[in-house]
């Protein structure tokens, strides 16, 4: 159809080289794209004029007044670098200093892998960019491979590996009945996958469910991975945010490293340093030796070059300034703990509010789950009701961003959830009973 359009256009064009106003567009056939399921929520929220509206959609931290937060350590770092900052091109692999500090966070301050220079590390455009670099790299150097993705996962993971043209398979993860981990099915999937498969794992604070394996479970998963010679790719977007302690949140990765796995890892500073819009992250791949790490890094740079040439400098400077200064680093660790603690506090508050409302449903998953998100278990229809009747915005999979919950809105939120999840149900139950009574008569 486009071809036909062009044919007639060619005829017009030959005679109207100077005035093309009456020709049709090349892009008439372009469909409007569906809104991004996550980012579209905030758009809708912003357009809502209700004074009661609550945004528990996108995973961006809010303080107890519902305001975005710029960390004090970030403000200080920014004042320090302003004026001095040279805005020259970074190397294709980004800021070496930033990458060094970032690897220490994931792999440990005294990691032998770092000492032995066995890690190929490059700065990336936050977590998305790191995952995309890896996916493109996987496609290029292991073209026959697929990626096993947990069910469910962050929606954009599917887009990333799809655009990289890496075929996807899923593995069991979330257990809806218990609202916890479907460990037995997960292990089955790991065992049944062909040897040497590539798996995407959330290092901590699984998005969207908030359900993480226990330390024991991680150990079993790692053991099974070793037996099957699987490749583990960790997406770690919430280090520090889950428990409040970055070392603790890296435990899954450390278990795998102790077992000798040569992993890949995406890291993001969007949440734990509040640097969302600066797009700062890191992709690392553990290699056999330094020579291979150099080779792998050079190939990652080849992927970055035709995508953006070299990564943005500002955010990387903030990160390296903070992490290489002991006082600023200490301040950062303190501020991360404050954020994590507030979220843990809100989990408790939400659960208690629901229980106080007399909900007979079980809400312990709210405090069992960890990190920014809570997988409430609500259906898309219930979510729609929350939005339409209560002006509460979240993604339709029932994922609540706990970061959007405050002491000011937790009561309202609990009430609304109670309404749509139970009270509505209760009314429906009674209505059925009454109707059946009448039909009997």
């Amino acid at each position: 159809m486009a071809g036909k359009m062009v044919f007639s256009c060619t005829i017009c064009r030959k005679s109207a080289g100077n005035d093309l106003r009456f020709m049709s567009s090349w892009w008439n056939h372009v469909e409007p794209a569906p809104k991004d399921p996550i980012l579209g929520v905030t758009e809708a929220f912003l357009a809502d004029t209700s004074p009661n509206k609550v945004n528990v959609g996108v995973g961006a931290y809010r303080d107890d007044k519902g305001k975005p937060v710029v960390l004090e350590c970030v403000r200080q770092a920014e004042r320090r670098i302003s004026g001095n900052e040279k805005m020259e091109y970074l190397p294709m692999g980004g800021s070496v200093k930033m990458v060094e500090e970032t690897l220490k966070l994931a792999y440990g301050e005294n990691s032998d892998l770092i000492k032995d220079k066995r890690i190929a590390g490059v700065q990336a455009l936050s977590g998305t960019g790191a995952c995309r670099l890896f996916a493109d790299f996987q496609k290029r150097f292991r073209p026959e491979s697929q990626i096993y993705i947990p069910t469910p996962t962050w929606a954009n993971h599917l887009n990333i590996w799809r655009d990289a043209q890496v075929p996807q398979r899923t593995f069991h993860y979330y257990h809806p009945e218990s609202r916890g981990l479907d460990f037995a099915a997960l292990m089955d999937d790991v065992k049944n996958a062909p040897n040497g498969s590539f798996f995407l794992l959330h290092a901590c604070a699984h998005n969207p469910t908030g359900v993480d394996p226990s330390e024991e479970q991680w150990k079993e998963i790692s053991y099974q991975f070793k037996a099957k010679n699987h490749f583990a790719f960790f997406d770690m977007a919430y280090q520090g945010f889950a428990s409040g302690d970055p070392e603790r949140d890296a435990r899954a990765i450390r278990i795998f490293l102790e077992d000798g796995h040569m992993i890949g890892c995406a890291q993001s500073y969007a949440k734990n340093m509040g640097l969302y819009g600066q797009r700062v992250g890191c992709l690392s791949i553990v290699c056999e030796d330094e020579k291979q790490a150099v080779a792998v890094k050079s190939q990652l740079q080849q992927i970055a070059r035709p995508m953006y040439s070299n990564p943005p400098v500002h955010g990387a400077l903030l990160v390296s300034t903070i992490l290489s200064d002991p006082d600023l680093k200490k301040l950062w660790l303190k501020e991360v703990k404050v954020m994590a603690d507030r979220i843990i506090g809100m989990r408790t508050a939400l659960r208690e509010s629901l229980e106080k409302l007399g909900s007979p449903l079980s809400w312990e998953h709210i405090t069992n789950q960890i990190g920014m998100f809570c997988y409430s278990g609500m259906s898309p229809e219930q979510v729609d009701r929350l939005t339409q009747e209560f002006h509460i915005y979240m993604t339709r999979n029932g994922r609540i961003s706990m970061a959007g919950v405050t002491t000011g809105n937790v009561g309202y939120l609990a009430n609304a959830i109670h309404e749509v999840s139970f009270v509505g149900g209760q009314k429906l139950y009674l209505a059925i009973k009454v109707t059946s009574l009448f039909s009997f008569l």
Partner: protein
């Protein structure tokens, strides 16, 4: 074509070889092997080979690799004329005053946060960028039929545009000028376009091969995408005249080609923002559609901040809206949303009359300094009686001069005079100063007389 031969690889360096040899002699490898064995929990565990075992070292990027090599050179007279980054007379990088001011304003504004930008980037930035390239009175803007997205400088904007074309345009061939920026073919190829060339540079005249251009595009199939450098062609510095642009426009429109402009030097070429945008505006004026990628790396000195934009001029506002929605689908799985800092600075400057005016003054000063360097180099070569016609140095425009030196001559200049440039003989005039022009002139003279 630019940059086909790789520069020095770090693995070739003597130091690296020494270290590797020493570590092997110290039994480093066997220690690591036993470490692997002791840590594996099971006899059936994997043998510890990496899944990326067979990966080879990639060659250095031909352009960015020049700086890598330059950095390694200990010579006190070394000169980096490789990558196109502006330098002052003192050879220092330059942060524009308006940029410093804008940054201070941003820092002092306590209400500012670092939240995610929308996928399409900072809205003000997008509007102002479209206005900058298309003109405030552009009919396309007034009729709201421009879809603009913030991109990762020029590279990122080109890539997003190319990915969109592969998905939505029926003709997947793009014609690029010969030569062009070394990264162009990589960007388009990886996005899935098939890259062909059209003649552009005439080595005999060191100017535009206009007949060749018209012939090659004349033979190209209708509907192909055609890449055009809006001004200050990289690497040659050779631009069509306004009359030649008009002929190019007619040819492109009559063959139904889709023009894709790369505008990386607006304001840098002539010193005037409007003059340097004339080629793009000419194409908008005829009512047709086009793509335009912009970069603020050079003209605002924001290199490392990765600030740019992609504008798609469409027939109607409705189409532009749909195009924008599809551009988002390209961006989201690549990096979700673009970086905030650089775009905020640009929006601040473009949106404030005083800052904007100051910027135009600083921009003109940079352009003028480069024009002065051209004159000085030309004069220096004339006064040395260097064989050959060097007038192209002052005829070419923008940051780069295509010297016409061959790879042998270039290699000689690097080895003997510690002058670094891309192997196609392209030099960045921005890297010169009055102090270093004589050294360069000496080197060129020696190279040309030695390797005629």
């Amino acid at each position: 074509m630019t940059g086909t031969s790789p520069a020095v690889s770090p693995l070739d360096s003597v130091a690296f070889r020494r270290i590797s040899a020493v570590s092997r002699h110290l039994g480093h490898r066997s220690e690591m092997d036993s470490q692997d064995q002791s840590l594996s929990l099971s006899k059936t565990a994997g043998h510890g080979f990496s899944v990326f075992e067979s990966i080879n070292q990639a060659p250095e990027d031909p352009i960015l690799g020049v700086t890598v090599a330059y950095n390694k050179d200990p010579s006190p007279v070394k000169l980096n004329l490789g990558v196109g980054a502006y330098r002052t007379e003192e050879g220092k990088p330059l942060v524009l005053n308006v940029v410093k001011q804008a940054e201070q304003l941003l820092i002092n504004d306590g209400s500012r946060v670092k939240e995610y930008l929308p996928i399409t980037g900072l809205a003000d930035f997008n509007k102002l960028s479209a206005t900058l390239i298309l003109g405030a009175d552009s009919p396309a803007i007034l009729e709201k039929r421009v879809a603009t997205v913030q991109g990762l400088s020029g590279t990122g904007s080109l890539r997003v545009g190319a990915e969109f074309l592969t998905r939505h345009y029926y003709n997947r061939t793009i014609y690029i000028p010969l030569p062009t920026w070394g990264n162009h073919p990589k960007v388009f190829t990886i996005a899935g376009l098939s890259v062909k060339t059209y003649r552009y540079y005439d080595p005999a005249t060191r100017g535009l091969d206009f007949q060749g251009l018209l012939e090659d595009l004349g033979l190209a199939p209708s509907g192909a995408v055609v890449l055009l450098h809006a001004c200050a062609h990289n690497p040659t510095g050779v631009d069509p005249t306004p009359e030649q642009w008009e002929q190019i426009r007619q040819l492109i429109r009559s063959k139904g080609f889709l023009p894709f402009f790369d505008s990386a030097y607006q304001g840098f070429a002539s010193g005037s923002l409007d003059t340097d945008a004339q080629s793009v505006r000419m194409f908008v004026a005829d009512g047709g559609e086009l793509f335009a990628a912009q970069s603020y790396a050079k003209n605002m000195g924001l290199y490392g901040e990765r600030v740019g934009a992609l504008s798609v001029v469409c027939k109607s506002a409705a189409v532009a809206g749909r195009v924008e929605s599809q551009l988002k689908l390209v961006i989201r799985p690549m990096y979700s949303n673009p970086p905030l800092h650089g775009a905020s600075i640009v929006a601040k400057i473009l949106g404030d009359r005083n800052l904007f005016n100051e910027w135009t003054v600083e921009l003109k000063a940079m352009a003028d300094r480069i024009i002065s360097m051209r004159k000085q180099l030309y004069d220096a070569l004339c006064s040395r009686g260097t064989p050959g016609d060097w007038s192209h140095i002052i005829k070419q425009i923008g940051m780069f001069t295509f010297t016409g030196l061959n790879t042998e001559q270039v290699a000689f200049m690097t080895k003997e005079y510690h002058i670094y440039m891309t192997s196609d003989g392209r030099i960045s005039m921005a890297g010169l100063s009055s102090r270093t022009v004589p050294h360069l002139a000496d080197a060129i003279h020696a190279a040309v007389t030695r390797f005629a």
